[in-house]
């Protein structure tokens, strides 16, 4: 039964990183820089959930909705006030990277000032952390719902990407944003929507993390490295790459825990990244 439990765990945390990598990949492909402010949206989502659900005691689904919308708005506003000006100036990706790093650092410091530096847990009481029994293996309720939610989100996004106007506009901008603009695609509007959607994914990740193991202000950066690795390893240019990368990451992490012990898990993403950049820098899947 232990293997079934591990399998379920791999599915749930694979789905978690898929969701994170999916949202990250959206901005990565369209604006072509590592948007570290994504980690800020992750934190905003988690802490807003804490605020709405635990401090204001709002009904759970409503609190969830409010908090992911807030984190979406957060990235949207980051785009409007910071990244748009830099992108218009055709700044190098390094400039955007530094700016987004600044946003992440400032966000985590501000959240730390408001909510404190200690771990913050979203659940109100112990009974909030229920478990679900699936054929003998147990999962947290939040992990169980995460699997379902992430699946729905992935299906929705893939439909949106390949069958709607917005999806076509997104793909055109990813391909060549200048030509896309020339043929009349509203670049600014599309990119700001992409940032909003990306923020929603990050916020959902933050909520799940807050429910499962609690948030600290530093965890924004902490979760960025595995997310970036999942997005890069699977193939940055491909929609499905992030999901593939996420599962590879999680499986290697589990193997590391099995062979070396849990304290070395943090080194795994880095090792995968280095190997991958040597062997196949463009990622496993092409577009």
């Amino acid at each position: 039964m232990i293997t079934w439990q591990i399998f379920l765990y791999i599915i749930s945390s694979g789905m978690y990183f898929s969701l994170m990598a999916l949202g990250f990949g959206f901005t990565l492909r369209s604006v072509k820089f590592f948007n570290l402010a994504y980690g800020g949206a992750f934190l905003v989502g988690g802490y807003m959930m804490f605020f709405f659900y635990r401090s204001l005691s709002i009904f759970f689904p409503a609190a969830l909705l409010f908090s992911i919308i807030t984190s979406g708005l957060y990235l949207f506003l980051c785009y409007i006030f910071i990244f748009r000006a830099l992108l218009r100036r055709k700044a190098k990706s390094l400039v955007l990277l530094i700016a987004s790093f600044g946003v992440l650092v400032a966000t985590s410091a501000i959240l730390g000032m408001i909510f404190g530096n200690q771990p913050t847990f979203v659940p109100r009481r112990l009974s909030d952390v229920g478990t679900v029994n699936i054929l003998g293996a147990t999962l947290n309720t939040s992990e169980f719902f995460l699997i379902i939610f992430a699946f729905i989100i992935i299906v929705t996004f893939s439909y949106m990407r390949f069958h709607t106007r917005f999806g076509r506009a997104t793909r055109a901008i990813e391909d060549d944003s200048e030509v896309a603009e020339l043929v009349g695609i509203p670049k600014d509007k599309t990119i700001s929507r992409i940032f909003f959607i990306s923020g929603i994914c990050a916020g959902l990740g933050g909520v799940v993390e807050g429910l499962n193991s609690g948030l600290i202000p530093a965890s924004g950066l902490f979760y960025m490295l595995p997310t970036i690795v999942a997005a890069v390893v699977g193939g940055m240019q491909s929609f499905w790459g992030g999901i593939l990368g996420a599962f590879i990451l999680v499986i290697v992490q589990q193997l590391t825990i099995f062979f070396f012990g849990a304290s070395w898990v943090q080194a795994v993403p880095f090792a995968i990244l280095i190997i991958m950049l040597f062997v196949r820098p463009e990622g496993i899947l092409k577009r």
Partner: protein
């Protein structure tokens, strides 16, 4: 007066770090975030050698750069092939690994309990245990580091580094093996940063794994970019400003933890505003 010495010691420690960071980030244009890692490696080398093996801190001022330089050569071997964003990612990963090792390898690094009782340096019976004497020691070391970075940026080696920043592909067409140069400058930067780590460990007499995190690297970024990239004077100016101004916050009387977060928030916003309105920094000529 003691407080003034303290500030000067801090400025020279961060000045060394900023000069080293500028060498890699400004002169060569490699966006590294591993500054805090080599700073930490220097501090741990000094602390472990001094407390466990009874070394004089003075001798660790020579051993730590060697150790940090060697580690930088080993990891840099793979980093030197990357550029721009990927270089930054790789160094971020390295910093994360360094933090993991420092936290988990408790027999050696003391983990989050840290290493206490690090002695002051002594030479020929003279102990640098007063703030004034320690200040002179730090000033001498920052002078040495300034001289080294000055000569590097004036030499032909420095010109190659500048050329790597401007156009790496063009330079490799002329037959320069750019990855070797990048590796070398990365190792030199690491060795110089570790000097500051030795001073820091000995000055504070206590280090733990929470002192060398990514926040320190962010501070270095902010210093180097604020002062002006690729200018040694700029790095020193950045270190001066970003030590003195936050010290003012101390007098307002915030709680320690809040003040630390407030500073961190300042550095983050500073980076954003610099990128938006003045990517050159105060003295810089090179625009990112």
């Amino acid at each position: 007066m003691e407080y003034l010495y303290h500030i000067l010691i801090l400025i020279s420690m961060y000045g060394i770090l900023a000069l080293a960071q500028n060498l890699v980030m400004g002169t060569t244009g490699l966006l590294t975030i591993a500054g805090a890692a080599f700073y930490g490696i220097g501090a741990y080398t000094a602390a472990i050698l001094a407390t466990k093996f009874g070394f004089n801190i003075f001798s660790t001022l020579f051993i730590a750069p060697l150790a940090a330089g060697l580690i930088a050569l080993m990891v840099g071997e793979s980093f030197a092939r990357f550029r721009d964003d990927y270089f930054m990612l790789a160094t971020l990963g390295f910093l994360m690994i360094f933090n993991t090792v420092a936290r988990n390898w408790e027999d050696f690094t003391g983990g989050s309990y840290g290493i206490a009782g690090i002695p002051k340096p002594h030479i020929f019976g003279f102990v640098f245990d007063t703030p004034l004497s320690f200040m002179w020691l730090s000033l001498v070391i920052i002078m040495i580091v300034t001289t080294i970075t000055y000569f590097i940026s004036r030499s032909s080696f420095g010109r190659v580094l500048n050329a790597i920043r401007e156009d790496e592909d063009a330079l490799s067409v002329f037959g320069y093996k750019t990855s070797t140069y990048k590796l070398l400058v990365f190792a030199i930067g690491a060795a110089l940063s570790s000097l500051s780590g030795v001073l820091f460990a000995s000055y504070l007499t206590f280090i733990d794994s929470n002192l060398f995190t990514v926040n320190e690297s962010i501070l270095l970024w902010a210093m180097v970019i604020l002062g002006g990239l690729a200018k040694n004077r700029g790095a020193l100016l950045g270190a001066l400003l970003l030590i003195v101004i936050p010290e003012g916050l101390r007098f307002i009387g915030f709680p320690v933890e809040f003040a630390a977060l407030l500073r961190q928030c300042m550095y983050g916003l500073l980076l954003v505003f610099l990128m938006l309105y003045r990517p050159k920094g105060i003295l810089g000529t090179y625009k990112l």
